[in-house]
Amino acid sequence: MKKVGITIGLPRALLYYRYRVFWETFFQELGFEIVASEPTNREILEQGAALAIDEACLSLKVYLGHVAALVGKCDFILIPRISNFGRHRNMCTRFEALPDLTRHVFRDRRLQILSYELDVLEKKDEENALMEMCRTLDCVSTKAFKRAYKKAKKADTEHFRERCRKQDALARRDGMKVLIAAHSYVAEDPFMGRMVTDYLRKNGVIPLRADLTDRDDALKHSRELSPTCKWEISREILGGIQKRKDGVDGIILLSAFPCGPDAMVNELIARRVKGIPMLNLVLDAQSGTAGVETRLESFIDIIRFKEGSL
């Protein structure tokens, strides 16, 4: 594989957690260098919060912090516009605005943004969008692109299937299990959801993830809980809840303040999923671990109390 001498920066936030394997395989296969920002730390968060509009969600603040951390370390920063995967399969409008929004936030620093537009309703599918993006770089042949895309897609599918299998294995284990309903970029971020999963594990609870389940299956099942839900990730979570809710002892609805889709979907889940302890946890930039831990502790106590083991 020949090197093309271009470094692509991947901000370690938002869709990085969904597309990491796909993006890395794809760009490496084409001979690009990849650099991802450090896992979220206090400095990244503070920098992002200073850059973003006050009212923006915590996830966007973290994202902008990661972009800032990549400035000067790469030739391009990858920020795609991902709008939808079809009817009733939209992303939050924030993902539509992301490339332009970031460009304007960093208006003084002349950011080099590499972007592609995924908008199936407007007939822009992933393969064509990526191909178009590669054309602007002018160093990728169609043949090499096709090979890289195929390989990346395969690696991504296998990686995700493996993670789902691990979840199934965890679900079969004995012990108290709690289902975490959260976007992957909230659940896996060290400054957001990771402290929840860490705390649960430390206290002998098995955390399961609602969004780590076969996606086609989840999309179908999501209709049973909410027939008109239109957000792809929310539908995956809804489907995951529908699939796993009978095998777990509690559900944690974990969201970043103030997540638009979650504000509505979590309310609906709380109203429609009955008979199981549920905790609605909203994380913001201020929440230290202490406040969250107290709430988790009392939640675990409630579950144990309900099951008569306390």
Binding site: I53, E55, A56, C57, R81, S83, R87, C92, T93, R94, E96, A97, P99, D100, L101, R103, H104, V105, R107, S115, E117, S226, P227, T228, C229, K230, F257, P258, C259, G260, P261, A263, M264, V265, N266, E267, L268, R271, R272, V282
Partner: protein, 358 residues
Amino acid sequence: MAGAVRRKIAFPRYAEYHCAFRYIAEQALGVQYILPPPLTRHTMELGAKYSPEFVCTPFKTCLGSMIEALEAGADTLFMTHGLCRLGYYGELLEQILRDLGYQFDFINLSDYDMSKKKDLIKVVRRFNPKVNPARFLTQFMEGARMVEYLDEITAEYYRNCGFDASGGDYKRAYQNFLNDMYTAQNRADVENGYRRARSAMQAVPLDKPERPLRVGIAGEFYTVMDAFSNLELEQKLADMRVEVHRWMNVTNQFMHYKSHRNMRVKIMDLCQYEMGPTAAANIWWAKRCAERNFDGIVHIKSASCTPEIDVMPVLQTISRDYKIPVLYLTYDAQTSDVGLQTRLEAFYDMIDMRKKVL
């Protein structure tokens, strides 16, 4: 049996469009229209009480208005679909109202694929199975015509009402127009009402300086248009003798510009992609105001409106490049009238001073 009873339908109060909703419901669909009471503090409190905390404010307003409509005797509620969170309003509103124990029929456009003709007919038939499609179409178009007139006269009103030299005739003409629209029974009523309003407003003497202060209004679809939700921002500005220009309304967004593609050509330098449902229109309008040397722009949104928060960085760029002041206002269920008045007065003083200096 159910077909014999006329439905009593309601849609949440929204700016002055209830005139057109009533016309379409009663003339085109042949159902009874229940006018929800005017929006008040009480409506907001009611809505905020039963809504999730971080949902956008229009959801709370809609919920409050729907509860009041049900109390006023409506048996069918209607909710539209939309590109942002609006597309999910229907299902959650229905769930909350059912949990409160209300009995009603709910027609939610998000249940249908409105780009298909078949689904469109299904929706119409649900309102009234006996509806005559040909009659429906003509009457619907007349209702749409009324929307155009409402938007045209409203825009005209806010541009000029601050300079009324007669002591209230301008406002009276506008109020009479709204009454005419609300009571219109047929096409002639609509046309005559519009013509009467036009000549009445033209007859009012205006005392307008040669170069009045001009302010452009942009923002989120519901709050920017609904005078109660934005605490009568346009009237407040107009009362300070400012020409108020707002592009965003139902006519401009949906009827005159079917596609945003052409609009996006003019803002290519600012954004590469479509950033959200009303982003292109708002950015284009802000840029146009700046290019036409307006004295300021007011950007209005409800609390936690995602698409409009994302437009703000672009407006900041416009503000800096064209040296035009932008006032960003966020409305939630608690926003106070006095606080807004203070901010507007400060904004007015600033743009007034700039005009004298520059």
